[in-house]
């Protein structure tokens, strides 16, 4: 009720004031007329003596107002009115920032989901991953002995756990079709470290987590409901997992989510006295309250030294130590640089969009000079006018921002669909990307900032008016139009510099793409189908069982009409998954415990090289005879390994002992090198070829088979005559029969496997190219707009020139020259900046230098051509000016 009466009172008050002032003037006029003046003179004199009537009335009203707020609302209303008048301009001025802001919102929401959102565990900032540290980086996998030493840091860590880094997948039987579920072995403290809530039952205790302990399992909420139908009697139930019976003792709560979805947790049951040097575990810990990351890192260094003392020798490299990193880093450190580059790129696009809108506003300011001059004459201060103009631009950008938010949010999912595997933590099809407060706040801040940024220059230069000239002149052809043009030129030049930087970045990525595609991968990935299988059960406890299954698979699949060859391996090429083992070369003297090298190793079946068409360079590949019964142990090495260790070229026939000093499971007699094959880029297409040892599946030591079965799935690769997926169902059937009913998982073509290894870079390349394209388009529009406007402003001048004898070509050249001059300046600045900035992209680029000549030359040429074209079109229009018309044109 109060505000209403106040409002009403105010109305009344303002009316009173108006009336009072009118009365005053009337009285004055009467007096002057009575004194002999004519009525008209008296009216003028009265007003003059009174002062600026409008201004005084406004000042009087202001006594009862809060000027700041009142002004703000007035400005907003005025701005809306002005913008509604010129809908075309308004539309463009809203859409342009909307696109820029939308792109920024989209990328930021991805960054938010990946880097900023805290992990879903309780108190995630206390979680760290304990990793091995080398000068060149960190190694996330660790071994059992290292875990045992690290977990002794009890003052620093509340709890320490180790769990399988990957898992072979576990075969869950007991229903019609056995299913492969994702499960890991985790030490008992896992549930303490991650503070996992339980929906039913309990976690396994440290007592159950010792070697030879009971077979118990904890399952996820999803598995409980999905597979067991939410059975209320689930605790205590026995299930058939990996061929053995396990008792379910606990079910985790529905809120517990891991980065990679997991269904089953089994006790690690690691032997504290183990000397197993295999690194296949991830170690995580929860810091005690009050402990800082720096303290944890220092403690880990101490721990590393302790390990070295306890286990001297090859189990730890000379330059290896240990450290702690925030747990989030495990999943995101790969993708972080790409995301930051994208953020930078999209900021550039926004800046270019701002420059375009600023140009638009400047052009419009020239048209509004009269209006602003009149307002100024009526008493508006310069600051007032600037505020009003800024209000207009901020209003534009806020509306653009709202539109951009919608665009960005809608656009993120299709964007991610381009490359779904690339980004961690975004969920299936970007489901984890939400419009939370951070994204909204970001968009709001960006929109405000954008509005002020592109509004500032037009506001300042538009409010500076020479009153008398503007009011006297009829048109807007001279005067501050010139000053505006200078500002606009500067804007266009900066647009071009920014666009050039983006184009260079995109071009570098595209060249990398081309280089990687054209560089021989070393193997043929077309028409190859891959599948994973977890070889659980006693049948596969020893190599003989595995070898027999492989032979059976070969027999059955080779019989299929569409299949050319089939092979098994522990690790697919270019999958990024590898095992590495040390070895010694026969015939060379060694100190006890010293190795000659440590290289990648994989076990493959006989048709492996055939399936992937890896060329044989010397010697032979494996045959059926290279099995356990044969007396000769063989190995086939890759070309780079031959070059590295036998530079004189006599690798063939040499003997090496693999797995020396690593542990009893890995002990095996020396092998003879029987073949040298071409390099296949096994560590992913973006690195140099790695030396590789291949051993036949049938000759693998039993200890290694046991370890592998526990830690990795076996990969089947089949070369097909036609489209790989068409044969998928048949192959699956044969595989199941040959292995006694084991389920198959993760069916992908080899092309998909390769795609996954370059996923992040491909994603970045696609986006950056898109941004560069948008930037180029905006910059072109910018320069075209400037030239067109300039031509229009100079119509009279052009007419005069032509009347004085200039030919159309001369006029064209004049305009194009003007445009190109701007282009050259922009290019020079842009190239300078690009040379400095592209070094930040170094991690994403391969095979191309950051200052690659071809890239720079072609980008400059592209930009130059585009600018030339953008200047030529208005130039043509200028040259068509009829001197007679232009001289008459007002």
């Amino acid at each position: 009720m109060n505000w209403f009466t106040q409002l009403f009172c105010r109305r009344q008050r303002f009316d009173d004031i108006s009336q009072e002032i009118r009365e005053h003037l009337d009285e004055k006029v009467e007096e002057l007329v009575a004194g002999g003046m004519s009525r008209t003179e008296a009216l003028a004199a009265a007003r003059r003596q009174f002062g600026n009537v409008t201004l005084i009335e406004e000042r009087t009203r202001e006594v009862w107002q809060w000027p700041l707020i009142e002004n703000f609302f007035t400005d907003v209303r005025y701005a809306v009115r002005m913008l509604r008048k010129s809908l075309g301009f308004t539309a463009v001025a809203i859409l342009t920032p909307a696109l820029g802001i939308g792109a920024n919102t989209a990328i930021f929401s991805v960054v938010n989901a990946v880097l900023l959102q805290p992990l879903s565990y309780p108190q995630p900032d206390r979680l760290v991953a304990l990793v091995r540290h080398f000068p060149q980086g960190n190694g996330t996998s660790t071994s059992i002995p290292k875990f045992m030493v690290w977990r002794e840091q009890k003052q620093i860590f509340q709890a320490v756990t180790a769990y399988d880094e990957a898992g072979p997948g576990m075969n869950l039987a007991g229903v019609d079709i056995p299913e492969q579920v994702k499960g890991i072995h985790a030490s008992a403290d896992y549930f303490t470290v991650f503070d996992a809530p339980f929906a039913a039952g309990r976690a396994y205790s440290p007592d159950e987590d010792r070697p030879g302990g009971p077979r118990v399992a904890v399952i996820s909420y999803g598995l409980w409901h999905g597979h067991f139908g939410g059975d209320p009697a689930i605790v205590g139930k026995t299930i058939d997992l990996t061929g053995d019976p396990y008792e379910i003792i606990g079910v985790l709560g529905p809120t517990f989510k891991t980065d990679l979805p997991l269904d089953v947790w089994l006790p690690l049951q690691a032997d504290p006295n183990s000397t197993d040097q295999g690194h296949y575990l991830v170690c995580a810990a929860r810091m005690r309250p009050g402990v800082t990351l720096a303290q944890a890192q220092a403690a880990m260094k101490v721990s590393a030294e302790e390990f070295r003392r306890k286990y001297p020798g090859p189990s730890m490299d000379a330059n290896e130590t240990a450290t702690a990193v925030p747990f989030l880093d495990l999943s995101v450190s790969d993708v972080r640089p790409a995301l930051f580059i994208l953020l930078g790129a999209v900021a550039f696009v926004l800046l270019i969009a701002c420059a375009n809108v600023a140009n638009l506003l400047l052009a419009r300011a020239t048209l509004r000079k009269r209006e602003i001059a009149i307002r100024s004459a009526l008493g508006a201060g310069r600051r007032r006018i600037i505020y009003q103009l800024l209000t207009e631009s901020v209003l534009l950008s806020l509306v653009g921002g709202a539109l951009g938010l919608a665009l960005g949010y809608a656009g993120v999912r299709p964007l991610l669909a381009v490359n779904p595997v690339a980004i961690p933590r975004v969920g299936d099809h970007g489901s984890a990307i939400a419009l939370d407060w951070r994204v909204l706040a970001f968009t709001l801040v960006v929109a405000l900032f954008t509005g002020i940024l592109f509004g500032l220059i037009p506001a300042f230069s538009g409010s500076r008016t020479d009153l008398s000239t503007t009011l006297k002149e009829g048109g807007s052809r001279t005067g501050s139009g010139f000053r505006h043009n200078k500002a606009r030129s500067i804007l266009v030049v900066s647009e071009m510099a920014l666009a050039l930087i983006l184009l260079v970045g995109a071009a570098l990525l595209i060249r990398t793409f081309e280089t990687m595609r054209s560089e021989k991968a070393g193997f043929d990935a077309h028409n190859v189908l891959t599948m994973e299988m977890s070889l659980s059960g006693t049948r596969f406890a020893k190599t003989a069982g595995v070898a027999q299954a492989v032979r059976e698979v070969e027999r059955r699949v080779d019989a299929l009409p569409g299949a050319e060859a089939v092979a098994s391996t522990c690790c697919l090429p270019a999958s990024g998954l590898d095992i590495d083992l040390p070895f010694t070369i026969e015939g060379q003297a060694h100190a006890a415990g010293a190795n000659d090298g440590d290289e990648e190793w994989r076990n493959v079946s006989t048709q492996y090289f055939q399936v992937f068409r890896i060329p044989l360079i010397r010697g032979r590949v494996f045959t059926e005879d290279d099995d356990a019964a044969s007396s000769e142990r063989v190995v086939v090495i890759s070309e780079s390994m031959a070059k590295k260790y036998w530079p004189n070229g006599n690798a063939l026939g040499a003997g090496i002992t693999i797995g020396h000093n690593v542990g009893p499971e890995f002990q095996e007699p020396p092998r003879q090198i029987v073949g040298i094959v071409g390099d296949a880029r096994d560590a992913g297409l973006d690195s140099d070829p790695v030396p590789m040892m291949h051993v036949p599946e049938a000759q693998v030591a039993d200890g290694i088979t046991a370890l592998e079965t526990r830690v990795l799935p076996i990969n089947w690769a089949i070369r097909t005559k036609t489209a790989p997926l068409s044969l998928s169902a048949d192959i699956q059937k044969e595989l199941r029969v040959a292995t006694g009913g084991l389920p198959v998982a993760h069916i992908r073509t080899m092309q998909q496997v390769i795609g996954e290894s370059t996923a992040i870079r491909d994603f970045g390349t696609t986006l950056l190219t898109a941004f560069a394209g948008v930037a180029l388009l905006l910059a072109t529009i910018g320069i075209y707009g400037l030239m067109a406007c300039s031509v229009q402003q100079r119509t009279q001048e052009i007419g005069i020139r032509m009347a004085l004898g200039a030919r159309p070509e001369d006029v064209r050249k004049l305009v194009v020259f003007q445009g190109m001059r701007l282009a050259v300046i922009g290019v020079v600045i842009g190239v300078g900046a690009a040379l400095g900035l592209t070094r930040f992209m170094a991690s994403l680029i391969y095979g191309v230098k950051t200052w690659d000549r071809t890239v720079f030359v072609s980008v400059v040429a592209l930009l130059g051509a585009v600018c030339w074209f953008a200047s030529y079109v208005p130039a043509r229009r200028a040259s068509r000016v009829d001197p007679m018309d232009s001289l008459r044109y007002e």
Partner: protein, 114 residues
């Protein structure tokens, strides 16, 4: 024309003080007030007639004067301002302050006795 451009021979508050003083004599309406001040100062003070109105509203806002509509002798509808009790007190306070200030300035400006 902004506030800063107004010719200010007067210090802030001077106009209000003079208005209050004038109204102490008798209630007046805006035009009469202006004429009175002009006459009383012997035209020594150049005041924009309109500048009175914001000052009047300020005084009205802090309730140092009150206003009501009336009819003038010439049958004109006018708004008459009247000094309130608070206004009277404020006036006395301001006048004494002003006189003190004036004395201080006069002393400083006085020729030094040789």
């Amino acid at each position: 024309m902004t506030k800063s451009n107004e010719q200010r021979d007067l210090f802030p508050g001077a106009l209000e003080m003079m208005i209050l003083r004038t109204l102490k004599h008798q209630p007046l309406h805006g035009y009469a007030l202006v004429q009175h001040i002009k006459r009383a100062s012997n035209d020594l003070l150049q005041i924009e007639e309109g500048s009175l109105y914001p000052a009047l509203q300020r005084l009205l806002k802090v309730k140092l004067v009150s206003a009501e509509w009336g009819v003038s002798s010439t049958n004109r509808r006018i708004r008459i301002y009247k000094l309130t009790a608070a206004g009277k007190k404020h006036l006395e306070h301001e006048v004494s302050r002003f006189e003190r200030m004036l004395e201080g300035v006069t002393r400083v400006l006085a020729p030094v006795k040789s």
